[in-house]
């Protein structure tokens, strides 16, 4: 089947927008750089929706665009693959990206460097599209690092801040650590399967030994763990909140960080042929999801609560992958994209509204808020929708996707199901705690806004509204996604649905008790158990361990460059040269120009010569 032209829109529009944006707008009219970029967002969103509809109707494309490199055992063709998986995620990414681009126009208004912001932001978008529609592992890797670069640039967007620079570097470095796994998996695939193209690799799985399949699967998961912030490589994501809020919403919540889950979903045939890998993914997902949920409950910074929530939800998606529940993972990826973007944008509206009381800080904590529901009823309402969706209250989107994951877990065993319910409980707890602390009450310890906080303008409110509608209603697409992935529409297990809802309600109850019935609880436990807060602050000590590893690397570099290279090895080689000079000087002492000495040397030499001759004959 030949490629329909909207596929080319997916690449052409962002590339054109970036070129026009950089070479024309950025130089001449930086206040309008977002114009071509918004146009490109609209075009790609339409194209993506049309393509998703075609795929839903049964179409599908997998074709080669051009030969990237081929020699010896290394053959890589770049191409496009649009199937149920990529088309469904693509539609979500394009819609959410478009909305957040619009939101960003309002949010970044008046900031210095807005033009640069939109260029980076759209560079991310382009890379994300390339990642999703790629038809082979190496091309995925190329765009995978592309989104990593955009992440680096945008986390460090407010680069005069030391913390922003450090966070962006940490993000890139941690992702490179994960990328080693990804690229090694690619080398092994090239060696074992002779190809990196998905369909060829999956067709040749039988030729690969089980041990090698397991190695490749684990290496791929190592890469996915860095991008999707799974323990032990999750450390970069909380710090990534140093970037502007639209960045956190789009990249570090809704789309980019789900790339790891997407890669796992893409590699499902490979993973299913290596069951130990699935077990590892499940365990890593569980550790991540539960740990991050606990840490999230303890956080004060609004964006960091949401960041840990994202880590936790990604862990939940990994659990779904690990239980072989492809539809659950992908559907939760999509609904999570809607409601987490909504929650982040609401947090952004709060920060925007509190701007004057924040003294230039880029984020707000629970101390800065309290009782904002009165000043920001619209934002508060939208946040409530997001919170209900996240916690899995019917009939909002999160309910359906989480329900699918719970069902899948239950099929795999009761212990696993119990732990998954625990994750659901945790997510309900932290999100309602955040909701109640931010929009209700006003506790004695909360400074609150100095003046009245204000609702943002229309440019920011409309995307929030649309996302709220999507978060509330996206549950109806469950059957659609399942069909696109080639599965039967999910059946509905009443018991799981009821218990899931009860768990969400229980989370709400605990959150209500700890924030409204005992309004100062959040400050009391910190005062009473400072060690506990410190312990949670560094992710149960893991952040300190990774800092120590990075510090060890730097110390090694200083040792090699200083103590060895410039104080030992370099002086040694130079000493060979100076040694020669000294030897020459020493020998020159013999030749002082005294004739009688020369005669003696001549005599000695002649004697030695004669002696040698006599000895030989």
């Amino acid at each position: 089947m030949s490629a329909p032209w909207p596929i080319w829109v997916l690449f052409g529009a962002p590339v054109a927008a970036l070129l026009v944006g950089y070479f024309y707008c950025h130089q001449r009219c930086p206040e309008r750089t977002h114009w071509p970029i918004l146009a490109s967002c609209a075009a790609t969103a339409l194209a993506a929706l049309w393509l998703a509809f075609q795929v839903y109707e049964g179409a599908g494309w997998d074709f080669i665009v051009y030969r990237w490199a081929a020699i010896g055992g290394f053959t890589v063709d770049f191409g496009v693959r649009l199937d149920g998986l990529s088309a469904s995620v693509l539609a979500m990414v394009c819609v959410v990206s478009g909305l957040i681009h619009i939101y960003a126009v309002g949010y970044m208004e008046g900031e210095p460097g807005t033009s640069r912001f939109f260029l980076y932001f759209h560079l991310f978008f382009l890379s994300m599209l390339g990642l999703l529609v790629s038809n082979n592992y190496l091309q995925t890797y190329v765009f995978w690092e592309g989104v990593g670069l955009a992440s680096f640039l945008l986390i460090g967007f407010w680069y005069p801040k030391e913390s922003a620079r450090r966070a962006s570097w940490k993000a890139f470095l941690t992702n490179r650590v994960g990328d080693i796994g990804f690229i090694l998996a690619i080398f092994l695939l090239l060696r074992e399967a002779g190809s990196v193209r998905f369909e060829e690799v999956f067709a040749r799985l039988g030729n690969i030994t089980p041990g090698m399949r397991m190695t490749i699967g684990l290496l791929l998961f190592w890469g996915a763990a860095a991008k999707s912030a799974q323990f032990p490589l999750h450390v970069w994501l909380p710090d990534a909140m140093e970037g502007p809020t639209p960045v956190s919403a789009l990249m570090h919540a809704a789309t980019m960080v789900t790339a790891g889950v997407f890669l796992m979903a893409r590699s499902m045939p490979l993973l299913e042929s290596a069951p130990p890998v699935l077990a590892v993914i499940t365990v890593a997902g569980l550790i991540t999801a539960i740990g991050a949920a606990i840490v999230s409950v303890s956080k004060r910074d609004l964006k960091r609560i949401l960041a840990y929530s994202t880590v936790s939800q990604l862990g939940l998606m990994m659990v779904a992958i690990g239980t072989g529940n492809l539809v659950g993972a992908v559907f939760h990826l999509i609904t999570h994209g809607f409601f987490k973007a909504l929650l982040f944008l609401c947090a952004g509206s709060v920060i925007h509204g509190l701007h004057s009381s924040l003294h230039g800080a880029v984020s707000a904590g629970v101390d800065d808020a309290g009782g904002l529901g009165r000043d920001l009823p619209y934002t508060g309402g939208a946040f409530l929708v997001g919170a209900l969706a996240l916690s899995g209250v019917p009939p909002l989107a999160g309910f359906f996707s989480k329900d699918l994951i719970l069902e899948g877990a239950l099929e795999s065993g009761h212990g696993l199901a119990a732990l998954t319910f625990l994750i659901a409980l945790g997510s309900s707890l932290y999100i309602f705690r955040m909701l109640l602390l931010t929009f209700f009450g006003a506790r004695a310890q909360q400074r609150g806004p100095k003046a009245h906080a204000h609702e943002p303008g229309l440019l920011m409110r409309v995307p929030v509204l649309i996302l709220a509608v999507l978060s509330a209603s996206a549950g109806v697409f469950g059957g659609t996604v399942a069909r696109m992935l080639g599965f039967q529409p999910p059946h509905f297990v009443l018991g799981v649905a009821v218990s899931g809802t009860l768990v969400a309600a229980a989370g709400f109850g605990v959150a209500y008790f700890l924030t409204m019935s005992r309004p100062s609880f959040d400050w009391e436990w910190r005062a009473r158990f400072p060690w506990l807060e410190r312990w949670l602050e560094c992710d149960f000590g893991w952040q300190k361990a990774t800092d120590a590893i990075a510090g060890g690397g730097a110390a090694l570099a200083h040792f090699v460059a200083g103590a060895w290279e410039s104080r030992r090895w370099d002086p040694f080689t130079e000493s060979l040269a100076t040694g020669c000079v000294q030897l020459g000087e020493g020998l020159s002492a013999v030749c002082r120009g005294r004739l009688n000495e020369y005669v003696w040397w001549m005599f000695v030499g002649a004697a030695a010569l004669a002696f040698t001759v006599l000895l030989c004959f």
Binding site: W68, A70, I71, F143, G146, P160, W169, F172, I183
Partner: protein, 483 residues
Amino acid sequence: MLLTGLWVAPALAGLLVWGMPSRGSARVLALALSGVILAYAAWLIVPYSAQPGILRLEEIGTAGAFGIRYHLAMDGIALCLCWLTALLIVLSLAASWKGDVPPGYWAAFLFLESALMAVFTFRDLFYFYIFWDLALIPMFFIIGLWGSSGRRKAALKFVLYTFLGSLSLLIGLLALVTLHYRATGMWTWDMAELARTPVAGPAALWIYAALAVGFAVKVPVFPLHNWLPEAHTEAPAAGSVLLAGSMLKMGVFGFLRVLVPVFPELSLAALPVLGGLGVVNVIYGALCAMAQKDFKRLIAFTSVSHLGFCLIGIFSLTAEGIAGGCLQMINHGFSTGGLFLLIGMMYERSHRRGVDDFGGLAATAPVLSVYFGVILLSSIGLPGLNGFVGEVMTLAGMARASMPLAVLGSLGAVLAAAYGLPAFQKVFWGPPGPDSVSQTIGDLDLRERAVLGVLVAGIVVLGVYPQPLLRLLTPAVEALALR
């Protein structure tokens, strides 16, 4: 005549420029002539690809005393390196435009170009060796006369160190040719002839080692690398570009052209040693780069790291590895050459090159920072830019030969992020340095943008679509591949 012209023309151009009466006219003439030579080198693709099936140009004279014979040949690898050299010469001359230097400076670069072209095209080891050593002379003067404060010591160290390497090479070559004579009764210095009758026995191992040491000094391979940081740091910017961009490639080229074809068995056996040293280069160079405060020295050490990938690729002895090594040579010329040019431009404006001397240049020199960013990203192997292609192919090749070495080599990607990005952040994003240099630094002018624009275009094109270049390399590379 086509190939003779390639090395004679720059020499004649150098003489002409040297004889110019004024500094201004020498400058104009040098740039114009180097441009003509670049065009000529580029045009060689036409006759090169006009002979289907043979895919190379060749000129053979008759053998003289001791079998020395004028023999030039051009294959894909040599063609790419000649293009790179000719391009870098033009760019570095354009970049030194403002320097008030005598005609000798411009002539030295053209003489260097002549020697490099000869090294890349001669197939007779006698001539190869002559030009291998002749190339040292112009670079000695470029560093020693026009370098920065420590130039005299750096130039001396450069010449002594690399000349010792050449000595090892010479001994190895003499032994090789003599052994060949004893075995066959025929004197020859021709690479192809020598490859046809392999030398065996313990002597072969000694010859192999002597030749490897000779080439390794030039690459440079750890632990024979420490002439490089000082020479790169003290040389003028244009000199560093040529040193890193073209001269280091002589060493890699030597491995490819002499060592692998003449000693295929030994090269296969040398995987743990020479492939291992490639990995050491990658990691050691990156670690040293991480700790540098002088930006030029930092980039010098990244060269050590990058050329480690060339070694990894070549001694994997797979087609993709060798091709990756060749691409890595080209790509390193673009990225490291570009970085040295950029540091040179910053030095020209501020007379500083410490990482901590600058800060916040993204605001004061936005165009400079965009160029710097792209070229640095290419250097640290960001996919989509050219640096990635060489790295991924060399490592993929090594994964077929030895997985442990490939795993260790891929650590270089993490270390690259660790040395490249903090320095970039400090200079372009960080707080300004101790004095007002960063505030008053001017952005790039049109000439500088043009010079860097050529490099950036190459970086993007070779990263997005490396296949045409790869196709050019394929016949020569496949002839070398043994695994």
